[in-house]
Subunit: 340 residues, 2 copies
């Protein structure tokens, strides 16, 4: 089977986005009435999923998507802890409904109610709710809740440890994923996303996080940012920093997805990164939605790039399925319970 | 001949760094006496160059290096405009002395006295001094003088236009190069440098700078950051942003160097980026100084990676020499004046 580890509900019903607007308006002007999440029917959800993600799964031949709220809309930098929590719960509840309607096609990955400077207690509680009550299998962790000002401590800082303890206890991984950028220097999907991936990896190279948390697992999306292209640089920097090679020091706990939108990039990824560290992903429907004039196919139809690799079927199965089941053991358990 | 477009004077005499220390101490405590740049003898300069950059040019077989002050020590975020200017002039004057001692081996590229929030007048004046009086052929432009807080406007903003006008008038390119990071999120050479490269490129994709300045030229170092690895993403994002393809919209004015420290990265670079846009560079002696245990050669001996490419000698000559002479016309004129 083909598991897509990176999909967002970018097509959620308009009333969901309206709720967010009203929520932020209320934050700006507390004299307004406090909004509540909209009533959304199953049919509305079906409509937004069937013509989009489900249609693309069928067309492109993937079976199951690890599905999380729209990343650019997490907007942790907006409002405060209370606002972030209410928005996050509404987003995660919607993901749970998608999964309940299409349990064969989706598994839930939650957004966390991060907020700049806030303690992680709310995120830990929401992670626990999503995993234990809603059956989610992972979370998205934003290394920069400030939205492009990078005011949070590095991911290796003890600040994050309580969340990591909960992740370890629940045995769920996190995808490192920033949200929108409110810094005009950084285009969200063209700079901020890729920079965050690169930044997180280098934090792991510098630090020693996985000695403290040997079972912790992170997926760095967008093919690991700049890392595979600069793999020699990272091996060399680790050496200069008197760190073990990244393959030992980082890559037992860190995985890259295949959201790299051309064949040469995917070819490089599998050439330098161990196949056990690569998870199929498309970020679909996401940052890049057009057709590549050079190939006539959608840029984000990443299955084609994997199919074209000179790998055995068994090796492709590692990328398409086996690695995801290893990194997301709660997904594996769900699939096994269904005889898959 | 082989022109290395990216070298820094990372081995400058210790008294130069001491001057910087005293300068920053004076800034912190104006009761101290204002320091003046140290007297450095020609022999001291020879000693720091011959055993290092010159030795490596000989060993690795490059002929001439575009030589600029140590990038991580530019430290535009430290002090103020006055401090930045005094430090910058001392740094550039030292580069001029290296070039005067070894005119066959080095050409000067200047640091600019940027300072967060300061107008660009001092940078424009220093660029003019370095080009007209010291014979420099280019400059390094820091898109983030704040050192990792990214408080400056994007490079496409009119804020930068007066500098671009001077660059166009003098017909010199800029290498986009940040300095040290004072943001604990960003390791300088492992995250901040690469992120800046990626960020600058995406700013050019979003903007329309080269319609206003059709002759302006930028070198994005470190192989263009994450860009070649994500070339499909950038082509797709340009399409979504209703921009022309990056090959037309950006790559008539933007060039990538070859500071990518492993063969697979260089292979990708030449596979996706037009050979006319690639300039040989090593960043030597720079960020990564060790030997790659996988090859037995220095990571930053980037000539080996180019030599290993299945390209004709004529194509390699574009990367090694011709593109640099086109992008740096003042270098070309200097070489022609020497019959080269």
């Amino acid at each position: 089977m083909i598991i897509d580890c990176h999909g967002h509900y970018t097509t959620a019903p308009a009333s969901h986005a309206k709720f967010r607007e009203r929520q932020l308006a209320w934050y700006a002007d507390p004299a307004l009435s406090s909004p509540t999440p909209p009533v959304i029917s199953d049919d509305e959800i079906r409509e937004t999923i069937e013509a989009n993600q489900l249609e693309l799964q069928r067309k492109r031949g993937s079976d199951l998507t690890l599905f999380s709220p729209r990343a650019s809309a997490m907007g942790h930098h907006l409002g405060n802890q209370e606002i972030s929590l209410a928005w996050t719960r509404a987003c995660n509840d919607l993901i749970a409904r998608v999964v309940d309607l299409y349990p064969d096609n989706f598994a839930g990955v939650c957004q966390l109610p991060q907020s700049p400077g806030a303690p992680l207690a709310a995120s830990i509680a929401e992670l626990e709710r999503c995993v234990r009550e809603l059956g989610f299998v992972g979370c998205n962790l934003n290394p920069d809740p400030s939205g492009g000002h990078w005011t949070a401590p590095p991911l290796t800082d003890r600040h994050w440890y309580p969340l990591y303890e909960k992740m370890a206890e629940l045995n769920v991984p996190a995808m490192i994923h920033v949200s929108a950028s409110c810094n005009p220097s950084f285009h969200a999907t063209g700079a901020h996303y890729i920079n965050a991936d690169t930044t997180a990896f280098m934090q792991f190279v510098e630090g020693d996080l996985f000695r403290a948390f040997p079972t912790l697992r992170f997926v760095i999306p967008h093919g690991g940012g700049a890392v595979p292209y600069h793999w020699g640089r990272y091996r060399g920097l680790a050496d200069m920093l008197k760190r073990p090679p990244p393959a030992e020091h980082v890559m037992r706990n860190v995985f890259f997805d295949t959201c790299v939108y051309h064949q040469p990039g995917i070819d490089l990824l599998v050439r330098v990164i161990d196949l056990d560290n690569i998870l199929f992903g498309s970020e679909m429907i996401g940052a890049v939605r057009g057709i590549d004039p050079e190939t006539g196919h959608y840029f984000d139809d990443t299955r084609r790039y994997i199919d074209a690799l000179p790998l055995t079927d068994a090796d492709k199965a590692r990328i398409f399925e086996r690695n995801a089941r290893r990194v997301y053991p709660r997904l594996d358990a769900r699939l096994k319970a269904r005889g898959l």
